[in-house]
Amino acid sequence: MSIVVEHLTKRFGTPGKEPASQLAPVLEDVSLQVGANEVVTVIGPSGSGKSTLLNCIAGLEPYEGSIEVDGTPVRSPHPAVAVVFQSPHLLPWRTTLGNVEYGLEVGRRMAKGERRQAAEAAIEVVGLTGSSSLYPRQLSGGMQQRVNIARALAVQPEVLLMDEPFGALDAITKERLQEQLQGIVADRKLSVLFITHDISEAIYLGDRVVTLSARPGRISLTKVIDEPRPRSLSLKQSAGFQALYGELWKSLA
């Protein structure tokens, strides 16, 4: 499944005040594609509109321009798309298991037993099996974020939109999940739009890295990462990797 974004412009209107068209855009003329089974990573300074881009593709924000998922224009959330939001947004009255089941319960309406199995599998992927029955307030920030990821994986999406999913994690957990994500992408033939502010993560995970410039957000650079998969973590030490890192760093600075 693919994502095609063409000439996307996004302005936030203040309800009841001037019409949206007169406000400075947050995103301007952004065009971008994520092909089938491709991972596109997006980096950009804070406030450059990365989350906004993701919300538009997720069908959660109105926009100008065109966005298509699997060839159909996006007006509301697409059934094959799952979102990992920047903050965990867990339902505080549900346990880890209950939160991970959530996406299967609404919208998809899977039967209870099946739901539980799918949720437990996703919880295992993020390494939280022992914490299934804990409430969000009993989880650390990083654990909450992993529940957020498991909740998206549980619905078996074909397209994953991830907003700095590993930002709150320690280096080791982060690398473990980066490797796992690669495996899942290969296994399930996922298409992924992955937002991060970690340049080396962007290179390691991306088939392409896209950089957004600050206000208004425009695509300033697209870099193809021509490395075969699966990539090993030692890639991060290679000379080519370091050169790319330098180049991307400069484009952001």
């Binding site: 959330p77 947004h89 339902l91 009255w93 609404v106």
Partner: protein
């Protein structure tokens, strides 16, 4: 250990007050005809139980309390979600709600008497009026405070409006709802007694008024004691329920 010692002190404190009351009444420091005494209250209670008056009074009050509180909670809950959710409904109803919630509603008693006469309906209306607003106002606030990000999350999973209501709005309302019900119970108890004083002289309130008319202070205190015990019981019950229902919070 410590807690047990404090409990003992509390029990001793109550016993001391009752003892002092008894002694003052026995020795004539206070006029027993006006103040009654613990022993006198026990005697009166026994009399009221034997004649069946106590059971029927409690029954009447309980029915009024339950019916009216049930109506108030149902109206307050449903209308509260609707008014909190749809801004337009809020704009229409909120001036009245604000006014009625702020004013002492007992002032409406004569109007209700004129409209409904001395009837069970009049009593129910009075109690509902007093107890509906705490539920209503709390549920409105709760509905407005639902985390918009959680609704967006639900939408990202294609939850329908009814699913959003069931899985996001209603659960986040529970703490507000329970607080509203707790306040409503307090209000309903006041309402029951007042409406029994002025709208029929039945139930525990009626028992107190009639005993007062004939200066039977022993019976008056039986009624008062029952109200006190019931209030404490209901409040405790609700705190337990509150803790149960919002275990995910603390």
């Amino acid at each position: 250990m410590r807690r047990r010692r404090y409990l003992l002190v509390s029990v001793a404190s109550v016993a001391a007050v009752l003892g002092a009351w008894q002694v003052c009444a026995d020795t004539g420091v206070v006029q027993q005809r006006l103040t009654s005494s613990p022993w006198d209250v026990v005697q009166s209670a026994r009399y009221l139980i034997d004649t069946g008056q106590l059971a029927s009074a409690i029954g009447a009050s309980a029915v009024l309390f339950a019916v009216a509180l049930g109506i108030a909670v149902a109206i307050g809950g449903i209308a509260g979600v609707a008014i909190g959710w749809w801004r337009l409904l809020g704009a229409i109803f909120e001036p009245f709600i604000a006014m009625l919630y702020a004013m002492p509603l007992i002032a409406l008693l004569p109007v209700i008497l004129v409209w409904f006469g001395i009837t069970f309906q009049a009593q129910v209306v009075m109690v509902v009026l007093i107890s509906v607003f705490p539920v209503l106002v709390n549920v409105i606030t709760g509905t407005r405070n639902v985390d918009a990000e959680l609704i967006r999350l639900a939408r990202s999973f294609r939850a329908s409006d009814t699913e959003i209501m069931r899985t996001v709005v209603l659960p986040s309302l529970i703490p507000y709802f329970v607080t509203g019900v707790r306040l409503a119970i307090g209000g309903a108890l006041v309402g029951v007694v007042v409406s029994e004083y002025f709208m029929g002289e039945n139930g525990i309130g009626g028992l107190i008024v009639k005993a007062g008319d004939i200066l039977d202070t022993g019976q008056v205190f039986v009624g008062i004691t029952i109200l006190a015990v019931v209030s404490v019981l209901l409040t405790t019950l609700l705190r337990v329920a509150e803790r149960r229902l919002t275990r995910w919070r603390a």
